[in-house]
């Protein structure tokens, strides 16, 4: 049997300290928490930085290190620093060293690196060991070479390799959300289907319970299944809350692909085990050959400058779509006359907040709002050019009349200057799996005594 304590769905989301203390007292075999996801967009992987603040991360991570020292079991974090690039693994390692120094404590730390050199991926493309998944964009050596960071998602095998050196703390780069939870049960010979299924249910912490924000859950894995229980006072797992979690962020709620195989939960039975815990049996793990890892990559897609003005005048609000179209057309003319940029070298958009800025062409509500925010989004290959065009847009956002024969209007600007430089923007450009001979062949471990 293996007991896994999951403090929260991700480091940075907060957790119930009382529940965590309760979990530590129950003597877990490992404490496992996720540190990231692609969910907040490509900029984090593109830049190789964390979404959460250093101070908040340190405050929460310190509590988990305290829990680890009390429980005397390994603490593992997957996808450290949102994106799991080498830079964010090292960022969390530095934070860890600071925390240990402040406590006058020591620890054996494994850093597991998931970042991939572009050359390796280009070679895989040439060798035919790269396979696109559904919806994958077209790639070639140029696209791969342009990625600022490429990571491979580690599975259970790589976490097990880190566990084999008997560390106190594992700081892993990109891993699947489930691998950090399934690794030890699989190593201990618990039921493989249960190991992956329980890991998927627990990967978002208490989201599989009636108190989704409380964070802490305990999962017991054994030879035939797993039992999951939320540890916050009042929180309950029911067969429905647990099975419904297979829906969450999953394309297929019955089938989950992982490095080295796939999980099928079609035959799973969910039974209320105690007042708060649910027992699950019947999920099946099938190994696949060859062993594959999924890749993620992000590349720079230009530099952006954004300007915002707001329309409150009724007539302008009613006619904002035509007003925007007229401005775009005049701006395109100005750009052609006054700059050396060709049509294909810039992208301009006036997104109308209050009208259809969220859903775009899909919007079905066409009632007239009280006001419309006009968000000018300018993208070119340099920051200077984007800001230059945003400044050419400025007079229109300030004074452009709907008709030539009316008094000059003036619109609301929330800021001076209105131009906001967003810096480089990024795009995801890999949705591929790579076949590898040995699971550790494209991951690296560094062991440090701190």
């Amino acid at each position: 049997m293996t007991r896994v304590l999951v403090p929260a769905g991700a480091l940075g989301l907060g957790f119930d300290q009382d529940a965590l203390d309760r979990g530590v007292a129950m003597k877990p075999d490992i404490i496992a928490i996720d540190g990231g996801s692609t969910d907040s967009g490509p900029a984090y992987l593109g830049r190789g930085v964390s979404k959460y603040s250093t101070a908040s991360t340190k405050a929460e991570w310190a509590k988990l290190i305290d829990a680890q020292q009390k429980a005397q079991c390994p603490l593992v974090i997957g996808t450290a620093g949102t994106c799991g690039a080498n830079s964010t693994v090292d960022w969390l390692f530095e934070i860890t060293c600071e925390i240990l120094a402040e406590r006058n404590a020591t620890a054996k730390i494994v850093r597991l690196y998931s970042q991939q050199p572009a050359d390796r991926i280009i070679t895989a493309l040439d060798n035919g060991t790269l396979t696109p998944l559904a919806g994958a964009p077209h790639i070639d050596a140029t696209v791969i070479g342009a990625c600022s960071n490429i990571v491979a998602l580690a599975g259970a095998e790589q976490i097990q390799a880190a566990l084999a050196v008997h560390p106190d703390i594992i700081i892993a780069g990109r891993t699947t959300d489930t691998a950090i939870i399934s690794a030890l049960p699989l190593l201990n010979g618990d039921n493989a289907g249960a190991a992956w299924h329980g890991a998927k249910i627990a990967e978002c912490g208490a989201l599989c319970s009636t108190h989704p924000m409380s964070g802490v859950v305990m999962v017991d894995f054994d030879a035939t299944g797993f039992t999951i229980e939320p540890l916050s006072a009042g929180a309950i797992c029911t067969p429905e809350t647990v099975s419904a979690h297979m829906l969450y962020e999953n394309t297929d709620p019955f089938c989950l692909y992982e490095p080295g195989g796939y999980l099928d939960v079609t035959g799973a039975q969910y039974i209320q085990h105690t007042d708060t815990a649910v027992r699950v049996e019947g999920s099946v793990w099938t190994r696949t050959d060859p062993y594959t890892v999924k890749l993620e990559g992000a590349r720079c897609a230009g530099f952006q400058t954004v300007s915002i003005a707001t329309l409150r005048d009724r007539r302008y609000v009613e006619n904002s779509t035509a007003w925007c179209a007229d401005i775009i057309s005049r701006l395109r003319h100005d750009i052609a006359q006054r700059t050396k940029l060709n049509d294909g070298e810039y992208h301009i958009e006036l997104r109308q907040i209050g009208r259809d800025s969220t859903l775009g062409a899909l919007e079905t509500d066409h009632t007239t709002p009280a006001e419309v925010g006009i968000m000018g989004i300018i993208t070119t290959q340099t920051q200077a050019q984007s800001t230059e065009i945003a400044k050419m847009l400025n007079p229109y956002l300030l004074h452009h009349p709907l008709t030539p024969d009316e008094p000059m209007p003036t619109f609301a600007f929330p800021f001076s200057p209105p131009e906001m430089e967003r810096g480089p923007i990024y795009e995801f450009c890999l949705n591929h799996i790579m076949a590898i001979q040995d699971p550790m062949s494209c991951f690296e471990m560094v062991v440090t005594h701190v």
Partner: protein, 102 residues
């Protein structure tokens, strides 16, 4: 006429990775689930999201009284034309879908 959202417990949408979006309709009861299964035509849902019906995966899950749709994101998450980084607002299109229930 009423909106689908008035009849069910919850409708949520979310990214399933940067390239897919998934929408879960929690019907709340077996009666509502059976009714939803009957009135929700996959082709109509595909049209609502302006996506080819052949790309829409549908799961009718009686055990949970849930209907789930998954399809490739109309724009890759975070791409220049993307308007909703988490894909969370797409659920509103189904919530406000006009339906008739006797």
């Amino acid at each position: 006429m009423s909106n689908l959202g008035d009849h069910v417990t919850k409708i949520r949408s979310k990214n399933a990775g940067p390239f897919w979006v998934t929408i879960d309709i929690f019907c709340g009861s077996t009666e509502t689930y059976a009714w939803c299964c009957g009135i929700l035509d996959t082709n109509a849902v595909a049209a609502l999201y302006q996506t080819p019906a052949k790309d829409v995966l549908r799961f009718d899950i009686a055990a949970l009284n849930v209907i789930k749709f998954s399809f490739p994101r109309p724009t890759i998450q975070g791409a220049l034309q993307d308007r909703d980084m988490h894909g969370a607002a797409w659920a509103t299109l189904l919530e406000t879908l006009e339906v008739e229930r006797s």
